[in-house]
Point group: C2
DNA sequence: TTGTAAGCGTTATCAC
DNA sequence: GTGATAACGCTTACAA
């Protein structure tokens, strides 16, 4: 294991030597502390000394060992972001917003994919508690209200999403109810009276349940009866499911003149499914989605949608996490923040 | 800094105690080594001892300190994946494929966004060399052939992409030339004779240049002259640029009956742009993309595309990286792997 | 302005 | 099967 300590070299792997701060110090004729001070831009180093150290660092090819630094500092400068999938437009955009917000606060972000399983989400939590990250932003899709207590950890965590409210953690949520109500109201304002909603299962408190509630409120506001046949629940909130269900709805003879989809992915599928069966959007049926993913603007017809304030939510989540990291006051009450939204009107409802 | 060592508690942050292996050891009446052996599932621990240790661990709420372990082991069990953007369908799918491949090899993946800037890409490289990751898969978009030498590092790196060939690193590339030739040939086979290509600037060796070369070859194969007016270079390979340029092409009076777009994002934009000016796809113009992103199947019309073997490329990249990690033979020749592809025919070329 | 000493929490080594 | 010891490479605290 030891290989020529005297020579000033140690190796982890055959043939590859690792330069330490000590070796730089020896080469520059200073102590290791001075090297450390140079690395960390501490003021109390003479220009000349600094130059000598820097020269030695370059010459030897020195690289900090982040693991050692993290161990010593008890901080990593990195936060974890756990999302269900990296290959979805929505979570991609969310991740980009979080990265941007964290960067402004000099934090790195490490993205972790959970596949929406409760186990993986708890794993991510563990890793964070294991001091791999200074804190974790968890976009919960697998864990539910019943698991709220498991989030009672002595480590900074912010929950993003709609499955856990009032838990023992800070929480940033979407404006589900109001936004869905507005989306449905928009369809009503365009003359729709038989408005379907396409959502996921609503056993738990989650995105689908909240958005369904908004839909119902809007219909009640307008005095339009809620027809259970128009509540279409699908297994996954993806394009394939949206397309298939839209075709089924049309072929079953169900009468509808509008569809509110709880995600843009579903809505993209619906546009496709309606095209398959020759239903014209927006002439015969109007469609609105939720999330305003980047591609919605470029679909044919372009897709009306709810634009949630990704950037605002991301900034808030990062802020909350940083607060917890810097001042972990276990007794502090936990924040619940709900983002804002706007209705983006495009061709799919503009007929 | 020290807070009641006697009580068995130490704290990094006010009010938050951190349980160490030592404390578990004391509580279980064993040495810290035995605890370590239990944690790491070493065989040489008596069942009874193991039980006692596990009980103490649970009782005290022990969590490994990953930083300490990484420092001691010289390994992190994590590889870095540096991609230009996390909010693009293509890179999202690529990341998902890499994560899946790495998971099969018991490696975690940390995703890093570079924004396609050379500096960020070199940053990612540094972090990896700083032993934050065991190795790095770098999807280069900012660095070019001229920077190849900067990749000569004593640390495992695999380059993914088309901007650096024959560099001092392992390299996994797309089948650009053949696939573009096949895409163009497909348009020819559907009767197109005035085929435009939409690509990025081609100053350097990169995706656009290689795909343009494939396009030219296919035309030459078929004896169709290459009209420079049909080579449309745009600034970014995104939807917005595709849409704008398609409109401009149509409005300028340029005659074309097919468009080969070097990314599906461009192609989505083109479909939109052509719709804006009332050109019917595929009747008047046929369109084919490249990448076969998930949404292409659901567009109206659905988009023909080149399906690169993401999974195969991802698996290969991870394999190569693992080889380098496990047996860092600096002298080994560097591998160049080119993936396979298939042409996926959909409505946009099927008229 | 610079150096000394100690220790962050873990695991490899080797002795028992 | 278990334990004592010594690092891993770095930075905080304090002394010079």
């Amino acid at each position: 294991m030891r290989a020529g300590r005297e020579t000033g070299f140690r190796s982890h792997r055959a043939g590859v030597s690792v330069v330490t701060i000590q070796e730089v110090a020896k080469a520059a004729g200073v102590s290791s502390m001075t090297v450390s001070n140079v690395i960390n831009d501490h003021p109390n180093v003479r220009r000349e000394t600094r130059a000598r150290v820097l020269e030695a660092m370059t010459r030897l090819g020195y690289r900090v060992n982040v693991a050692a630094r993290n161990l010593r500092k008890g901080r990593t400068g990195t936060i974890g972001l756990a999302i269900p999938e990296v290959d979805s437009a929505y979570y991609g955009q969310l991740a980009a917003a979080i990265i941007a917000a964290a960067e402004r606060r000099d934090l790195r972000v490490s993205i972790e994919q959970t596949g929406a399983s409760p186990e993986s989400e708890l794993d991510a939590l563990s890793l964070s508690r294991n001091r791999l990250y200074d804190g974790l932003i968890l976009s919960a899709a697998g864990l539910g209200q019943a698991d709220a207590e498991r989030l009672r950890v002595d480590h900074p965590v912010v929950i993003l999403g709609d499955r856990i409210f009032g838990g023992p953690v800070d929480h940033v949520a979407m404006p589900n109810l109001d936004a869905s109500r507005a989306a449905t109201r928009h369809l009503l304002s365009r003359g729709c009276r038989r408005i379907a909603i396409m959502c996921g299962a609503v056993e738990e408190i989650d995105t689908s349940r909240l958005r369904l509630a908004g839909y119902r409120l809007a219909l009640e506001d307008a005095g339009v009866p809620v027809d259970p046949a128009l509540v279409q629940q699908v297994g996954r909130l993806g394009m394939r499911e949206g397309a298939r269900r839209a075709r089924e709805m049309a072929e079953s003879g169900l009468a509808f003149d509008g569809v509110f989809c709880v995600t843009d992915a579903l809505a993209m599928g619906v546009l496709r499914g309606l095209a398959d069966v020759g239903i014209r959007v927006p002439d015969q049926v109007k469609v609105i989605g939720f999330d305003n993913v980047a591609s919605s603007e470029f679909l044919v017809p372009s897709l009306s949608s709810i634009d949630p304030d990704h950037d605002g939510m991301a900034a808030r989540a990062v802020d909350l996490l940083i607060q917890r990291i810097e001042q972990p006051e276990p007794s502090t009450r936990h924040a619940e923040f709900v983002g804002s939204f706007s209705v983006v009107i495009r061709e799919s409802t503009d007929g």
